[in-house]
Amino acid sequence: MSAALLELVDLTRHFPLRNAFGRRVGWLRAVDGVSLRVEGGETLGLVGESGCGKSTLGKTVMGIYSPTAGEIRFEGREIGRLERRERRAVARHLQYVYQDPGASLDPRWKVGPLLHEPLKIHTALSRAERDREVRAILAAVGLPDAHVDLYPHELSGGQQRRVGLARILTLRPRLVILDEPTSGLDVSVQASVLKLFRTLQSTFALTYVFISHDLSVVRAMCARIAVMYLGRIVELGATAQVFEKPRHPYTQSLLAAVPRIGGRRVTQDFALEGEPPNPRDIPSGCRFRTRCPLAQSRCETEEPVLRAVDGQTVACHYA
């Protein structure tokens, strides 16, 4: 198999927990040994509930956090331990979209300079060449040229979002990590934002890692999904297959909790009890065993590893 665009090998990010006197009293295992391949051109969904480590994973890949252990290979090259200047150069090909791309605009800068900036950082293009590039990107995200002279606060929320995306696309990145890009949006706005992501993906040949807690959005956008629970991937597979036949008991509960409009109320039959344990205090063995209907004594002692079951990958002894 050729090298994947992005490959994570046992990626780990722990945060020290300190008491009031600054002494370390333990570790928060936010990301705890994640291995994953992202192929060029695909959209990989990363789903899980708050505290499962999906955002930490995205930010560690992006270099905002440095990995505690493990490898991040981007285009076959290890980027987790690069020297700062070299790591910044990688940002040209690997970009991150915040929940609200509009909030990523400096309020004191006009749209034009904001869009020129990434090119100034990473290329030696002349002003005229940059201008041409910026116009092309603005057209691609559906904004008129005249907007370059406006300040972000003079734009509507939707337009700010488009400028935020344009800013990332001027660099023509290969991989874009989208972190909860639809959270807090109304459904009608969400549909247009998702459509924009799709158009941009085909225009710019982008690869997406799509981090979200919203399963219906992930289902609409991603060909493959990885389900995370307490810092680990518990299930990985083709979206259609995972939605059709989830193998891991956690994935099953997660899907069972999503309302299905028009059908029977899913909450009538919803059976999962309790809440996820505190990530500061992860259970021994299988992390899900405290809430799992299938749990046996083996789950308490032996942590299940990801294994292939009918084309899906599941970390469960009894899947």
């Binding site: 109304d186 706005v189 998702l194 459509k195 409009i261 899913v266 009890e273």
Partner: protein, 338 residues
């Protein structure tokens, strides 16, 4: 069905820098006894303002009620003596579940102090007028015991493990889901006729949301309490509501029993809204255009600038309510037949 709450032609303005914003423009909403009604709409449609207007907690100075009535058990709360509303209605006959269980408790007092404080004033065992007159007023001992039993019972009902121990903890020692369970318990304790729940599951994860929705629906049905449940999430509305009212830019567009609302929507806005939910095949249909400014809203039906069916009539005249079936009302000149 006997109407418990009827909001009639309510108009509320908010003062803004650019002039008054007409946040509610002639809203009509009814809630029957024992009914769970969903108030659905996108952000800025006025659903939170409506919830606050019913509770009588609109921000003073900023909001102005320009007309209409809020009938509750036959009385118009807007024109009732405020002292009477405060004493008998707010927090007793009508209670509230907020969106954010994280900020609804004071962080420095144990949960017990905060719940018992509520009971001191709003306990159903306290005869009207016999409640402590001042903040420092005495809490009769027998009533305290009875109230505390009721609190423990209700905590058990909302499935808080070890209620007696839980009461001694501070709010931050509970998870978000548990705090929302506490909020539900506090809303049920005064034995209200109506609970107003303002996006109570928006901040929660999907599995916790499912647990809370299941619990809330079971409890209110068992006790015969009505609920007005605001949400922007259509899936949530489908899960919990008997009837759904959809709002757009301060006007109600359609009201129907849940089955009819999701199965036979008649208003073009409802249809577009339902279509914008991502389908299993990944098809995406948005609503072109943007929500209008409420300072200078479009005349007539406020959805007309974005509506495929709009005619000159829609631009001038807001459609009158029209009944398509029993309990299925729509305010559209050109409702879609299905």
């Amino acid at each position: 069905m006997a109407e418990l709450l009827a909001v009639r032609d309510l108009r509320v303005d908010f003062a803004t820098d650019r002039g008054p914003a007409q946040v509610l423009d002639g809203i009509n909403v009814e809630v029957g006894a024992g009914e769970v009604v969903g108030l659905v709409g996108e952000s800025g449609c006025g659903k939170t303002t409506l919830a606050r207007a019913i509770l009588g907690i609109l921000p003073e100075g900023a909001a102005r009620i320009r007309g209409g009535a809020v009938h509750f058990k036959g009385r118009d709360l807007l024109h009732e003596n405020p002292a009477v509303v405060n004493d008998r209605v707010r927090g007793r006959a009508i209670t509230f579940i907020p969106q954010d269980p994280f900020t609804s408790f004071s962080p420095v007092f144990p949960v017990e102090t905060q719940i018992m404080d509520l009971m001191k004033w709003k306990s159903p065992r306290a005869a009207e007028g016999a409640r402590p007159a001042a903040l420092g007023g005495r809490y009769p001992r027998e009533r305290y015991r009875a109230d505390r039993e009721a609190v423990l019972d209700t905590l058990r009902a909302v499935q808080i493990p070890e209620p007696a121990r839980a009461l001694r903890r501070l709010p931050h020692e509970f998870s978000g889901g548990q705090r929302q369970r506490l909020m539900i318990a506090m809303a049920l304790l005064p034995r209200p006729d109506l609970i107003i729940a303002d996006e109570p599951t928006t901040a929660l994860d999907v599995t916790i949301q499912a647990q809370i929705l299941k619990l809330l629906r079971a409890l209110v049905k068992e006790r015969g309490v009505s609920v007005l449940f605001t949400t922007h999430d259509l899936g949530t509305a489908h899960e919990i509501c008997d009837r759904v009212v959809v709002m757009y830019a301060g006007q109600e567009m359609e009201a129907a029993p849940t089955d009819a609302f999701f199965g036979r929507p008649a208003h073009p806005y409802t249809r577009r809204l339902l279509a914008s939910v991502p389908g299993p095949g990944g098809e995406l249909r948005d609503i072109p255009g943007e929500v209008p400014s409420l300072v200078a809203p479009p005349a007539g039906c406020r959805f007309h600038p974005r509506c495929d069916h709009a005619t000159p009539e829609c631009r001038e005249l807001r459609p009158a309510p029209r009944m398509l079936a029993r309990e299925h009302g729509v305010r559209c000149h050109h409702p879609v037949e299905s």
